[in-house]
């Protein structure tokens, strides 16, 4: 039996806490931050009531939380921490440290906007700004996937060919605080799927090691190559782990990227995280009206599913990248990554970038339906600007100002955003 059929009504954060308890970590350290707080509250309660036997450390900051996780991992312990937004950036130095040290830490990140303006609401600019820090990044769609991916994350992170930390991303509030029915696997099934952590990358009295050392220019690059290769290998291990998880627990998630009604679709939207659920509903509605639309859920941003995305969208005339992110002055980072994947695959469909949901703004079904309309229209008449801010509440045309025209003819208003 992989499940005793036990379903609980849990928020995304609570589902994560249940997954963490099933994974039997030795050490947990975290600093509370909205909207991550309830996950560490639940874990603290579990440690207190004895249902989770672990060392629960109180730390004074996110930087210390991740540092403590590295110290624990360096004696071969299984570790967990969680953060969000400003907290993630505060531990940015340690993110590189943990991946470079090859410590297979699992961390939950509640995706939240970055200040300024100050905001506690959800977007994905926190984790997407940290794509280069050497962590595996997965984005989940619902609370069940959150619980399941915590368990899968340890299998992937601790795999000898991977030894790389994993960040499990949940959209702030939309996932972290929304209650759903979640099936909880049995401890026995999880123990069978996730054996105890074994590593030689640790301090050991029987075989003493130096850890966290310097490398001079003659050797440093090889360490980074190794990390790069481990991340590429992780793509295979992630797919393998997901298949094995699906077989054991009945819930496969499609590995790095998962298509939905995308096989014959002319217009495909690429999504990340919880908005995928809304987009599925819109795809179903438009399909019912006879439109050949589909979506592809990008599950992992690192390793990036380049070949998978090129394959899953192979028949599409136009592809939209919907992301809660912007790299100011250029475009969304997901869009950049997708275009690079298409270029490497020798495929150049029309690709539009829908920047939406910044600072927690809702992305409605109507917004998504309009994105599909823009993709269809874009094939016939390619827009000048492929980066589209969705649902801005104001005009963005530059206002003609009579005083600067020095008596010349008033200039027509032009689009502020250039191609």
């Amino acid at each position: 039996m992989t499940t005793d059929g036990r379903k609980v009504f849990a928020s995304g954060n609570e589902a994560v806490a249940l997954g963490v308890r099933l994974a039997r970590p030795h050490v947990i350290a975290a600093y509370p931050i909205t909207p991550q707080t309830t996950v560490v509250e639940r874990l603290a309660e579990m440690a207190e009531d004895g249902s989770l036997r672990c060392e629960y450390m109180h730390v004074e900051s996110e930087h210390s939380a991740l540092s403590a996780m590295m110290g624990a991992s360096a004696i071969g312990a299984r570790t967990f921490t969680a953060t969000s937004s400003q907290g993630l950036l505060y531990m940015a130095e340690c993110l590189h440290y943990a991946s470079g040290g090859r410590f297979p830490i699992v961390m939950m990140n509640a995706n939240r906007a970055l200040a300024l303006p100050w905001s506690i609401y959800g977007d994905q600019r926190d984790s997407l700004s940290q794509l280069d820090c050497g962590w595996i990044q997965v984005y989940v769609e619902d609370a069940q996937e959150a619980l399941d991916m915590i368990i899968q994350a340890y299998v992937v992170a601790e795999h000898p060919r991977v030894l790389t930390p994993v960040m499990v991303n949940l959209d702030g509030f939309v996932l972290t605080h929304t209650y759903e029915l979640v099936e909880v696997p049995t401890q026995q099934a999880v123990d069978e799927f996730l054996p105890s952590f074994q590593t030689t990358n640790k301090m050991d009295l029987a075989a003493p090691t130096n850890m966290g050392f310097t490398a001079m220019p003659a050797d440093y690059m090889e360490f980074k190559f190794q990390q790069h290769r481990a991340m590429l290998d992780a793509a295979e291990i992630i797919a393998e782990t997901d298949r094995a998880f699906g077989k054991k627990f009945g819930r496969p998630y499609g590995g790095l990227a998962d298509g939905y009604r995308s096989d014959d679709a002319d217009f495909i939207l690429l999504t990340l995280g919880s908005v995928t659920g809304t987009a599925r509903v819109v795809v179903d509605q438009l399909r019912a009206e006879g439109h050949k639309v589909g979506l592809v859920k990008i599950r992992f941003m690192r390793p990036f599913p380049a070949a998978e995305l090129a394959f899953l969208t192979r028949k599409a005339k136009a592809v939209g990248v919907l992301e809660k992110n912007i790299s100011p002055g250029y475009e969304g980072t997901v869009f950049t990554n997708v275009n690079s994947a298409f270029l490497n695959a020798g495929r150049l469909p029309l690709v539009l970038n829908f920047v939406a949901g910044l600072g927690g703004r809702d992305i409605s079904k109507a917004d998504i339906a309009q994105m599909f309309e823009q993709l269809a229209a874009g094939v016939k008449d390619v827009p000048n600007d492929r980066v589209i801010f969705v649902n801005l509440q104001v005009d963005t045309y530059e206002q003609s100002d009579a005083k600067t025209n020095h008596g010349e003819e008033p200039q027509p208003a032009r689009v502020l955003l250039r191609p």
Binding site: G100, G101, R102, F103, L163, T200, N201, K202, P208, T209, N210, M211, G212, F213, A215, A218, D219, E222, F223, F225, Q226, R229
Partner: protein, 99 residues
């Protein structure tokens, strides 16, 4: 004196021979610190009273005893000058290193 021995890192031919992450046999020392010095402490045994203040204060632990006389391990002395500054008998003097 029990100092770690220098061992060159024989670079493996294949990437698989590299340590996974920054984890390697303890005590594997590949380099000395002699090149860090711009000044070198010189000890005058005739003035040394054997108070061991230099031994206690040396941040790198490079001062040691041979047959009741003090000596300095120049492989690992970084030339900070704390020993000369603290020596009340002026038995240690910093000398400029000719570059």
């Amino acid at each position: 004196m029990n100092r770690p021995k220098l061992q060159p890192f024989s670079r493996p031919k294949h990437i698989d021979g590299f340590p996974i992450g920054t984890c390697f046999d303890a005590g594997h020392l590949v380099d000395t610190n002699a090149g860090w010095r711009t000044e070198t402490p010189e000890l005058n045994p005739g003035l040394c009273t054997g108070c061991l203040l230099c031994y206690l204060l040396c941040p790198d632990g490079v001062i040691f005893q041979v047959d009741s006389q003090l000596a300095i391990d120049y492989d690992f002395c970084k030339g900070c000058g704390i020993c000369a500054h603290e020596c009340k008998a002026k038995a240690i003097v910093m000398q400029k290193v000719e570059l």
